[in-house]
């Protein structure tokens, strides 16, 4: 059993502090939005979770490409870890968006481009996990996982584009001014600082979870090898 690396413990602590600070900033530092009120505060973690979800899927694609080129098993572990974390945060993104949409759009759900794309993205990576579950041979599982992570990530922007050609009501807070978007607002400097800090906090959470998950994958591999040795 390999000991937990010291840097990982340090990262745990740093992440916890930064995350607590981000929560405090959201509730006590950022001003309340004039029109939407308290519910607007969902925005900070909603966008941050979406960012971590996309980051996870991007990392999975990059790990897939590197795995196919090198055949090094650790990139397969990294790819799976990134997909699992990405799925959880993409789900947080969707759920927190729903909570915000209920009072602002007056509905939990609407078939808007971003919402639809986010859902299809979740389905793609659910299919990724099912594909992996259906294959016993570890090499083949890793290769197929890598191929599907690449294909899935390429299709996401196309999906977004394909539904974007319809009109959207999702607000675009950063860049772009769409008059049909409902619930848009301008950020004050304090809001922007809180938002940026939330992004940073979630990035730390991603790095920390990713490290833990990769380490878990390596340990699981070791257990599997020991088990095989026992059987022989």
């Amino acid at each position: 059993m390999q000991a937990k690396p010291r840097w990982l413990s340090i990262l745990d602590g740093v992440t916890a502090v930064i995350f607590a600070a981000a929560v405090a900033m959201v509730f006590f530092y950022a001003p309340e939005e004039a029109v939407m009120g308290m519910v607007q505060k969902v925005f900070y973690f909603h966008v941050s979770a979406g960012w971590v979800g996309m980051l996870g899927f991007l990392v999975a694609m990059i790990a897939g490409i590197i795995y196919l080129r090198t055949g090094d098993h650790k990139w397969d572990i990294a790819g799976l870890a990134a997909v699992e974390i990405g799925m959880v945060f993409a789900l947080i993104n969707i759920v927190s968006g729903s909570i915000w949409a209920r009072p602002i759009w007056n509905t939990w759900w609407t078939w808007d481009p971003r919402l639809t794309t986010a859902t299809i993205m979740e389905l793609i990576y659910a299919a990724y996990l099912m594909l992996r579950a259906g294959i016993e041979d570890p090499d083949r599982r890793a290769r197929f996982g890598a191929v599907y992570a690449i294909i899935g990530f390429i299709s996401v922007p196309l999906t977004f584009l394909s539904i974007r050609i319809f009109r959207t009501i999702h607000p675009v807070v950063i860049g772009g001014e769409d008059p049909s978007a409902k619930g848009a607002f301008d950020m004050t400097p304090k809001m922007l600082q809180t938002f940026m800090f939330s992004l940073l906090a979630f990035s730390f959470v991603f790095a920390d979870l990713f490290w833990h998950r990769v380490r878990l994958g390596q340990l699981a591999d070791k257990v599997e090898q020991l088990r095989l040795k026992l059987i022989q």
Partner: protein, 265 residues
């Protein structure tokens, strides 16, 4: 029952590694040999691709298993839609494109699954992989075969739909969209089917893998088809056609790049 695999490459492909090992030749001759060997490689690629395609078509012509199943299935789907959606004259104008593409997508999945399953069942895939040809030639051969089957189904479903529902579906624009949409669907479908057949849960896996990835192609195809059926302005249809072309190009290229890893043993 005819044998499923009748692929016998007339001539084994050149071994580039052996050629390269020869002593260095003068620059001009190196150029000439390189051009000639590139030529030969291209023609051997096309021959291998045509052989795989021909094998699939010949097997299908003799057994007619896949086309008949896809066709009956497609007609059943249209029949079910008829009752599920109450396809009266008003509803038809709006949903025809959707009904057609759902039908093509479902029938296409059936064909894709079957076309890879027959390769896997009797070890034909291993035989194909042993052939000294470029692996991507096998991919393109299979994909072209699947495209032919899907277009055949479309070629029968479209006039039948016209006949049953009194809507003219034989428009040049719509046929072009069917071609573009089928290319994209088959390009990514052939790749995913060759992964799905190697999994334990192969029969149920292909639609789960394929549908979320194929969403852009289905959305764009439905929108473009609906535009042509309702005689919309070409300016409204072009974005969808462009999206279809972009999807086709991207996914044919990606499938070409990764197919080697999917069939590697």
């Amino acid at each position: 029952m005819p044998p499923k695999s009748i692929l016998t490459p007339e001539k084994p492909a050149e071994m580039p590694a052996l050629k390269r090992a020869k002593e260095p030749a003068p620059a001009s001759r190196v150029e000439a040999t390189r051009a000639a060997s590139a030529d030969r490689r291209a023609s051997s690629f096309l021959r291998a691709m045509a052989a795989v395609l021909w094998k699939d078509l010949a097997a299908e012509l003799r057994s007619r298993e896949m086309i008949s199943a896809m066709l009956v299935f497609a007609l059943l789907v249209i029949l079910i839609f008829n009752f599920a959606l109450e396809l009266d004259a008003q509803a038809r104008a709006n949903v025809t494109a959707g009904v057609l593409w759902v039908t093509f997508a479902f029938a296409g999945t059936l064909g894709l699954n079957r076309s890879m399953a027959i390769e896997k069942d009797r070890g034909c895939l291993d035989g194909l992989l042993l052939a000294p040809v470029d692996r991507s030639a096998i991919y393109f051969g299979k994909a072209l075969g699947n495209l032919v089957f899907m277009l055949t189904v479309a070629a029968i479903v479209l006039p039948v739909y016209s006949l049953l529902y009194n809507i003219n579906t034989l428009l040049p624009g719509l046929i072009g969209v069917v071609l573009l949409g089928s290319i994209g669907y088959v390009a990514v479908g052939t790749l995913l089917a060759s992964m799905a057949v190697q999994a334990r849960t192969r029969d149920i896996l292909l639609p789960i893998l394929l549908f979320p990835v194929a969403v852009p192609v289905v959305v764009a195809a439905v929108k473009a088809s609906s535009g042509f059926l309702q005689a919309a302005d070409m300016a409204d249809i072009w974005p969808w056609i462009n999206l279809l072309i972009a999807y086709d190009v991207i996914f044919v290229a990606v499938a070409y790049m990764v197919f080697d890893y999917v069939v590697e043993e």
